[in-house]
């Protein structure tokens, strides 16, 4: 029984690892191929099956004048927009979530749950519905095709996620911790920053992770709200496509664009397993 369990366990772990890693390896090998190696049937091992070429990667950094696509600027645009929007969303979202979790609001029939739902409801509509108002709105304030305009839109899209996750998280942090902080001489702001926030790091990390992922992978709004001045990575990658699909440079750009998320995942995993709230209340 024990042995069979062990065998099965390792079998499935191996299976899953292969399942997850294989596409990346495939993309990695493809990125070093040229037209002939891609179209000449399935080949996997460099130097044996095919001759590795750096062309797929070179195209990404060459300027368009030299026949490249130059994804460096869009890459940093994407990093900047995603990080700034995520950071602002987390700050605003955490503050609103704390307020929604700890204080009672009432305006007519609108109560805390309704406000929370209002935030989440921003995500119910399909993006296409939001695109027209966003376009008109950004046009009106002259922020179309600009980094700031994109950041504003992404905050609207990301903050509901932050609020949603953090409300749920704060609801699980015992209120008595805040009360104890007040009793120990903290005013409400100190109680939040000195006691509640340090104990909310796991929640902040999860919320931050979701914000970064959703911001980073967005194609639709980046596509609709920018033209020539500013471009984000997902749009630029799609622009690689021409009459011939350049699988080699597509693979290369896919790998670079997924890299930040992989780094985020590793960092987050470290923190998530460390922090927990046990010991606050038993």
């Amino acid at each position: 029984m024990g042995k069979l369990y062990k065998i099965l366990k390792y079998f499935f772990i191996t299976f899953w690892a292969v399942f997850v890693v294989a596409p990346f390896l495939w993309a990695l090998t493809t990125s070093f191929k040229d037209f002939n190696s891609v179209n000449g049937g399935a080949t996997y091992i460099p130097w044996v099956d095919f001759e590795p070429k750096l062309e797929g990667w070179r195209v990404l950094i060459k300027s368009p004048a030299n026949g490249g696509v130059d994804i460096i600027e869009p890459y940093f645009n994407s990093l900047f927009v995603t990080c700034t929007a995520s950071l602002i969303s987390i700050i605003l979202g955490t503050l609103s979530a704390y307020a929604l979790s700890r204080f009672t609001f009432k305006a007519g029939f609108v109560k805390n749950n309704d406000i929370t739902f209002f935030f989440i409801s921003q995500r119910i509509m399909p993006p296409i519905v939001l695109s027209i108002p966003f376009f008109l709105f950004l046009g009106a304030i002259n922020l179309l095709d600009s980094l700031i305009g994109l950041i504003v839109v992404y905050i609207v899209l990301l903050m509901p996620i932050a609020v949603w996750i953090m409300v749920d998280f704060f609801n699980k942090v015992p209120r008595e911790i805040d009360e104890t902080a007040l009793i120990d001489g903290c005013n409400p702001y100190q109680a939040f920053f000195k006691v509640v926030l340090p104990n909310s790091i796991p929640g902040l990390i999860v919320a931050g992770m979701f914000c970064i992922i959703f911001g980073w992978i967005d194609f639709f709004f980046a596509f609709i709200l920018t033209f020539t001045e500013v471009q984000l990575l997902p749009v630029k990658i799609v622009a690689l496509n021409s009459s011939i699909t350049p699988w080699w440079s597509l693979s290369a750009s896919a790998l670079i664009s997924v890299a930040p998320l992989i780094i985020v995942a590793f960092v987050v995993e470290r923190y998530l397993s460390k922090g927990n709230l046990s010991g606050a209340i038993k």
């Binding site: 007040l182 009793i183 104990n199 010991g279 209340i281």
Partner: protein
């Protein structure tokens, strides 16, 4: 100079959590709030702490309108029934937190924290994480944190209730020591509990609270000997005092075809019908007694609790030894009539074996 409250009421929903509560707490004393769960004990403590604002009423402390002072300026300490500590800090930092908040000198903090941890028996645990401690140790950390402040008002909200039996005994003993030595003349301790034994043991002034209302105030001994009403008798006895409908006829107390000798202290009872109160411990097994049927027998520690039935009368008796009974067994019991209480039909104490009467 005292902590004085007048007519505090708090009614957040249909029910009163506090109903016209008044008290006068003097410095250097311990006050025990005795009441069942949901009687308003925690609400009262939170109101004193400033975490809740009552709907009506006034509270003064040191010549200040206490209700206007925000929590963080009140110089109070509170221990919750759940073990509340700061999980992101270690034991030392937890205890030091209130002092750091006051910007006390680091050296003084170190001395005070060490002293405080020593008083709760946790020296050597300074660098432990809170999560690594047992429940009892966690509760001691929060006790140490509340002692280190030297607060003028120390609030303890059922601090022993979530601990196991052994630890509770031990910590209760420590509480008594801390209260008797460590308590400064300048501070007020308010201790809330559901356990009448705890209230008796702490032996301070007891406030009996029920449904947000103060039923009786007095020294622990007085509450035990002369409970003002049936309700107080119920709350201040564990197991609750047995109450039986009885009447007096020809110098006998009669109920359920049982006749008991009329004790002296009941001889000048004005009314014929009354509620007879008798503690579980004042009922004894006796072969010459009256026959009852066992409904339930529970062994608790070194005593046996018998739930008995005879006609419409249901009583609980505690016997100071471990005995095995089966359900539906017949047992014979006798009543120690010198220890019985009489409450009139409105539930007010008419006569107690200790001479009290509120009629």
């Amino acid at each position: 100079m005292n902590l004085v409250a007048e007519n505090l009421s708090y009614k957040p929903d249909e029910q009163f959590h506090l109903n016209e509560v008044s008290f006068d707490f003097k410095k250097g004393n311990i006050y025990t709030i005795l009441g069942r769960t949901l009687s308003g004990k925690t609400t009262l403590l939170k109101t004193i702490a400033g975490l809740l604002t009552p709907d009506t009423g006034a509270m003064q402390f040191e010549d200040k309108d206490f209700l206007k002072v925000p929590v963080w300026e009140r110089n109070i300490a509170m221990v919750y029934q759940q073990f509340i500590n700061y999980p992101h800090l270690n034991v030392f930092e937890n205890v030091a937190f209130p002092l750091k908040q006051r910007k006390v000198d680091d050296q003084v903090i170190a001395d005070e924290v060490t002293k405080s941890l020593k008083s709760v028996g946790l020296e050597g645990y300074e660098n432990r994480k809170i999560q690594e401690l047992s429940g009892g140790q966690q509760q001691r950390v929060s006790l140490a944190r509340s002692l280190v402040k030297n607060a003028k008002i120390l609030l303890l909200d059922e601090p022993l209730v979530n601990l196991d039996y052994k630890l509770r005994e031990q910590l209760r003993e420590e509480f008594k020591n801390i209260f008797s030595q460590g308590l400064s003349e300048d501070s007020i301790v308010v201790f809330s509990t559901t356990d009448p034994r705890e209230a008796m043991e702490i032996n301070g002034e007891v406030i009996v609270l029920d449904e947000g209302k103060v039923l009786q105030v007095g020294p622990a001994k007085e509450i035990f000997e002369n409970p003002k009403t049936l309700k107080v008798a119920e709350i201040s006895n564990d197991p609750p005092m047995n109450i039986l409908k009885a009447f007096i006829e020809t110098n006998k107390i009669k109920f359920e075809e049982i006749e008991v000798e009329l004790p002296d202290h009941l001889s000048n009872l004005k009314e014929k019908n009354f509620n007879l109160g008798i503690r579980a411990s004042d009922i004894i097994l006796s072969d010459s007694g009256f026959e009852f049927e066992v409904e339930l027998a529970e062994i608790s520690g070194s005593e046996t609790l018998l739930h008995l039935k005879r006609g419409n009368a249901r009583i609980i008796t505690s016997i100071e030894e471990v005995l095995n009974f089966n359900i539906h067994d017949k047992v014979k019991i006798n009543f120690n009539s010198n220890k019985v209480y009489a409450f009139n039909e409105d539930g007010v104490l008419a006569s107690s074996p200790f001479g009290g009467s509120y009629v």
